[in-house]
Amino acid sequence: MWNVALALLPATAVALWQFGIGAAIVLTASIAGCMAVEYIINRFMLRRRFTLANGSAFLTGLLLALNLPSNLPVWTVLIGCIAAIGIGKMAFGGLGCNIFNPALVGRVFLLLSFPMLMTSWPLPAENIWNYTDATTGATILSILKSDPAAASSVGMTAELTGATGGSMGETGAVAILLGFIWLLWRRVISWHIPVSIIASVAILTAITGGNIAVELTAGGLLLGAVFMATDYVTSPMTHKGMIIYGLIIGIITVVIRRWGAYPEGVSFAILLGNGVTPLINLWCKPRRYGETGKRRAVA
């Protein structure tokens, strides 16, 4: 868990650099909120031993913050924390029992409940000292949604360094890739899920005639593919299953981006992928030693 938090360090740094004070407030509120909700539920409702030390509540808070715009009021963030930890995790029985990624449950809950707040993206760099009063603008994906021809107006440098509008953690592609390399090197995750998501998005974008570079670096795709979809609890166990899961997420993402009502679909795609994970686990059994194909486990 702490390894993943460490891998998020570059992305968090980019968020603080680009979005300044707002990012700091949302980050603090989200992490503190998630840990507090977990503590309260454990202490007063489940009456179990505390589980803060394993870092999962910290990580959920961090991921949730990185999925929010930096001008979100604190009370909204706290509602997100309650949804993430309370509904997304503890309602299922705590760590290891949840079906859906808690941070995404929180984000999608906020996105559906407060669509205005959640889609007014502060412009980076010029808002270092502004919080809720930050000037906002559209993200590259919403520009694309309304006017597909405008894609070329956005520079790739901005996309890679995070100097563009969007959720706090999703804008700096380079920072996320640094985290990805760290996770691979520490063997926290395997390459299967991120690569299959990114590859399927790239291929589908190419088929449907989109701008591959923009589709890959824009929005929450990288953050989702590297940090959200790879969550152990909600992703399949076997490598074969992981690839199928990644393909499902990639396809749904492109479908939502192209034809859906929302400009961005990674969150929904990952949640849907989480939903089919138990089925994938049931189908994709590891290669058995000394078993002929006839006997199939019925679990």
């Binding site: 394993n54 290891g96 152990y232 166990m237 059994k285 590891p286 290669r287 030693y289 000394g290 486990a297």
Partner: protein
């Protein structure tokens, strides 16, 4: 370099005693021969209190097909037949023989026997890799199988253990002679000696000595746990898998431990029954870890004393390797035929971490060399869901401990799977009967 294809781990080797010569321990003042040193029924004692016995004399005879004979490793008198503790702390019958210091330890050799299988049975040889399965049974493959390859298991994939390595360096000729005897007995004319690449001196030595012998080849294996498992080694060497519930012979191979091969050599050519073995006594805090040649029935304390005595901060004494071995409940116990090592671990290395919830990371699934899902099996076992566990192939588990080793939540997966497997096997047996 070859290795097996499903799961597996690369473990830190920790072979503290690698390359150390075999040191012979003096005969203990008293040996305690457990009657149950092997799989199958305990041996039946044929001596009584007060009898004098010679070194190598039969003291207990096999009481069934899977049972095995036991011989005295010393000249002396039977002082009693009594209940003693096994290393696990359970009670077991044993013959206790007091060594007679005055008498020369001349060997009372076995009656010469040209038939290798018979000689092996008379010598009480069991598999010396740890399972202690009677060797004569393995030397007579069922009639409907046609084994074409003999695999000599010298992988020694468990960390810390070096007894097979030391044996190959100390007596390579004995090993090769034993291999030829096994080939002769089973009619197999192709033999592969499988050695992991972390024992280059043994590979070089055996390559040189077997260069002129047709049919015997030394194969270098990539170090990987549990390569020394019979099923894994068979697949690594031949590419064939042993079907569940079948013997290796069904896949056309016979697997023997390298120490077993040497024991067969000594039984057939020298007439010496299995009365001693090499035990690796090791541990990071021991002052003189080493490979000791000890008589069967030597007290564990004697072995640990030889290695420098039990250190202050000892947390656990493990019989066998760190992965498959069991923590001893008492060290007031005795060496048996299948005991390959004694591992003395300090308390900071041996204590169990408190268990955390399963986060379904799937590491146990990728590590399992049998391609099972340990997280599921252990849950089934905890919930007493035997039927589901049988469907998820719990009976295939080889209890190698890889899943417990990789679990980031320190869950005792192997412990629970083991009891689930026991339940499943008893259910499967009763199903077969009805």
């Amino acid at each position: 370099m070859k290795t097996f294809s499903i799961g597996g781990l690369h473990l830190p080797e920790n072979k503290l005693t690698a390359g150390q010569p075999v040191e012979r321990l003096p005969l203990p003042a008293e040996v305690t021969l457990l009657l149950s040193q092997h799989i199958g029924a305990p041996a039946r004692p044929i001596v009584k209190k007060g009898d004098t016995v010679m070194r190598g004399q039969l003291v207990a005879e096999p009481s069934g097909a899977l049972s095995s004979a036991i011989h005295s490793p010393v000249c002396g008198t039977v002082s009693r037949i009594d209940t003693v503790k096994t290393p696990q702390g359970l009670s077991a019958e044993a013959i206790i023989i007091k060594t007679d210091e005055s008498r020369p330890d001349a060997l009372c050799s076995l009656s010469p026997c040209s038939d290798v299988v018979e000689a092996t049975r008379a010598a009480g040889i069991v598999g010396m890799g740890g399972a202690a399965f009677p060797t004569p049974v393995k030397l007579t493959p069922p009639a409907d199988t046609q084994p074409d390859t003999l695999i000599i298991n010298a992988a020694e994939c468990e960390p810390f253990l070096t007894c097979d390595h030391a044996l190959m360096l100390a007596d390579p000729d004995g090993v090769i002679s034993g291999i030829r005897l096994i080939m002769q007995a089973t009619g197999v004319n192709h033999c592969v000696i499988a050695i992991e690449s972390n024992k280059p001196d043994a590979i070089k030595l055996l390559r040189r000595l077997t260069a002129s012998i047709p049919g015997i080849e030394v194969m270098i294996m990539q170090p990987r746990y549990p390569q020394g498992g019979e099923k894994q080694l068979t697949e690594a060497v031949t590419g064939r898998m042993i079907a569940s519930g079948k013997l290796p012979a069904a896949a056309g191979v016979i697997v023997h431990n390298v120490a077993t091969a040497r024991a067969i050599h000594r039984a057939v050519t020298l007439g010496e029954p299995l009365i001693e073995r090499i035990v690796t006594v090791t541990g990071p805090a021991l002052s003189r870890p080493g490979n000791y040649l000890a008589a069967i029935g030597t007290p564990l304390r004697t072995l640990i004393e030889a290695a420098g005595g039990l250190p202050e901060n000892t947390g656990k004494v493990i019989i066998g390797g760190p992965m498959m071995g069991r923590a001893a409940a008492t060290i007031d116990s005795f060496t048996v035929k299948g005991m390959s090592g004694i591992l003395v671990l300090p308390s900071d290395l041996s204590s169990r971490q408190p268990e955390e919830p399963c986060i379904r990371c799937g590491r146990c699934v990728s590590a399992c060399p049998m391609g099972l899902e340990p997280y599921l099996l252990s849950t089934y076992s905890r919930m007493n869901m035997t039927d589901e566990a049988i469907d998820a192939l719990v009976a295939n588990c080889i209890e190698c401990g890889s899943c417990s080793y990789v679990c980031p939540s320190w869950r005792p997966l192997t412990d629970f799977i083991r009891i689930g497997k026991q339940r499943a096997i008893s259910v499967l047996k009763s199903r077969k009967q009805s």
